[in-house]
């Protein structure tokens, strides 16, 4: 009689499976996990630690914290960061001092490993939460992180 009990058991397992999907069908209105992405831009908030892109925060006086030590450039596995630096005269001491000219960041090469941010001694660079990085021209992905005319925040090097 195993022939008939097989049929019975088989149908039973099939109905159990259908009950699972059926339950979700009935509760589908509130169960949907879809995020309607471009519509929910306002409410979509990334986590604080989300690695979207590397940014260099500037304060209200257009000052950043990068001393140009190039540790991030060395730490980067992909050559994403290039620091073009120069020696300028320090206003206070009058000595020649290293300062950044351009902090070039190639987002197209970045693997978001976070080693640069981990290694930065002055917390000059941080993770930005922006994830909408697509562009039509890949040169747009090469960014200069320090804003024009910005200078080093006082007291960072101490």
């Amino acid at each position: 009689m195993s022939y008939f009990s097989d049929i019975y058991k088989g149908i039973k397992t099939l109905l159990t499976g259908m009950s699972v999907t059926g339950k979700y069908f009935v509760t589908s209105k509130k169960g949907a996990i879809t995020q309607q992405y471009p519509d929910n831009r306002e409410t979509l908030k990334m986590f604080d630690r989300f690695r979207g892109e590397v940014i260099m925060p500037h304060n209200e006086n257009n000052e950043h914290r990068c001393t140009g030590c190039q540790k991030c450039e060395i730490a980067c596995p992909n050559g994403t960061i290039e620091i073009i630096w120069d020696r300028g005269i320090d206003e206070n001491t009058g000595k020649k001092k290293k300062k950044i000219d351009k902090f070039v960041y190639h987002l197209s090469m970045c693997t978001m490993c976070g080693l640069c941010i981990d290694v930065c001694p002055t917390d000059a660079i941080k993770w930005g939460q922006n994830f909408e990085n697509s562009v039509y021209d890949r040169t747009a992905l090469t960014r200069v992180l320090n804003e024009p005319g910005s200078k080093l925040q006082a007291g960072v090097e101490d």
């Binding site: 058991k9 088989g10 397992t13 099939l14 159990t16 499976g17 009950s19 699972v20 999907t21 996990i33 986590f47 604080d48 630690r49 989300f50 690695r51 540790k71 730490a75 596995p77 693997t111 978001m112 490993c113 976070g114 080693l115 981990d118 290694v119 993770w127």
Partner: protein
């Protein structure tokens, strides 16, 4: 009466078919050269290298901190365990004393990664045998884990959370609560997995007795992880060579003896339960302390050879570093589980049908970047 004799020379013709590199069932750019007789598989020959990035060669010029992030890109579904493997190798070589907190967190995240990987596998397994809905249910639960990872590590897939010496940063304050929520949630969902797919008569018919791998063959082919354990081969690195905080927890190694596709499936389901129990044991008592031990900015391993095994979601990942005392390894070899597991595909798939091959491949749980490295 005239007798009609069939032409005895009639021979069914074997033909050749390319499965992949863009085939839905090969999960990536794996190309299988199949020799088929009707529906019966006569020979399977994998053709690899479509995404080989030569990570081992890159490692020979990178610093040890940088190597860690490359391992994310091997078996991306258990990225965190790969990271841990390299970090453990370096830490053992440097004989660093790692704080308990780091060990526990690493184990928790490692086990969560395993669950997340198995969730995805479960969904894809269902999809490969034709039940598309499982895919979304698997992803729903995996999404919760990804959120936990994202909150703590900042990334969902390629986390790069471990550094030689500990963790890149401490766990997020919400971590413990979220993990507990997940455990309660997932405990209600796992039985649902069983009701939807495991018990299903069609699924059982599709998987039982398909792709049988004997214990001897499993060892000989270097099968590891759930593939080996389904054949009755006790190969859990977490049991035999415990690392991090795994010596402090109790769990059962999921073992089956049948060695068929269904056994491999059950082993993975069992592993999800075991991983849940490991996380449960650890989550309430994460010790206080440092999350990172300071290392030198340029890590140089002493001259010598170092080997570290860990158990990723797919099996045994070995990291073999030959150091000459410089800042980069002289030679670094990743013994990846997928590569060995793939090598036995021809052995177990021959004689089955195309549908069997797909089901078998689904339970080998191949991640192609892990094979191609």
């Amino acid at each position: 009466m005239e007798t009609v004799t069939l032409n005895s020379n009639f021979k069914s013709e074997e033909y050749f078919i390319n499965m992949g590199p863009q085939h839905p069932a090969t999960h990536g750019v794996l190309r299988l050269l199949l020799t088929i007789d009707g529906e019966i598989i006569k020979k399977v020959e994998p053709d690899l290298g479509y995404i080989h990035r030569s990570i081992e060669k890159m490692c020979e010029r990178d610093s040890y901190q940088q190597i860690v992030h490359l391992t994310d890109r091997m078996d991306y579904l258990s990225a965190n365990i790969n990271n841990e493997a390299v970090c453990l190798t370096v830490e053992n070589a440097l004989q660093l004393e790692i704080p308990e907190r780091v060990k526990v967190i690493r184990t928790i995240i490692g086990e969560l990664t395993r669950i997340s990987s198995h969730c995805l596998w479960w969904g894809v397994m269902g999809m490969d045998v034709g039940a598309l809905t499982t895919y979304f249910y698997g992803f729903r639960d995996r999404e919760l884990l990804n959120d936990i990872f994202e909150e703590t590590c900042g990334a969902r897939l390629t986390m790069n959370y471990n550094v030689p010496g500990g963790l890149m940063f401490d766990i997020h304050p919400n971590f413990v609560k979220r993990v507990k929520d997940f455990i309660t949630h997932f405990k209600t969902k796992l039985p649902e997995y069983d009701r939807l797919l495991t018990d299903n008569i069609i699924f059982q018919k599709r998987t039982k007795g398909v792709g049988i791998l004997s214990k001897e063959d499993a060892i000989s082919y270097g099968a590891s992880g759930p593939v080996g354990r389904a054949s009755g081969y006790s190969c859990d690195v977490r049991k035999h060579h415990p690392y991090s905080a795994l010596d402090k927890v109790t769990f059962n190694e999921a073992l089956r003896t049948e060695g068929d596709t269904y056994a491999r499936y059950l082993v993975r389901i069992k592993e999800m339960w075991e991983s849940l129990s490991i996380v449960e044991q650890l989550i309430d008592n994460i010790p206080e302390g440092e999350y990172r031990v300071a290392t030198k900015a340029v890590i140089k391993l002493p001259k010598g050879e170092y080997f570290q095994k860990v158990e990723t979601a797919r099996g045994e990942l070995g990291v073999y570093i030959i150091s000459t005392g410089l800042k980069s390894p002289y030679r670094l070899k990743f013994r990846s589980p997928g590569f060995s597991n793939l090598s036995l595909l021809n052995h177990i798939a021959v004689g089955g049908k195309i549908g069997d091959l797909v089901a078998t491949m689904a339970t080998l749980d191949l991640v192609i970047p892990d094979i191609d490295r």
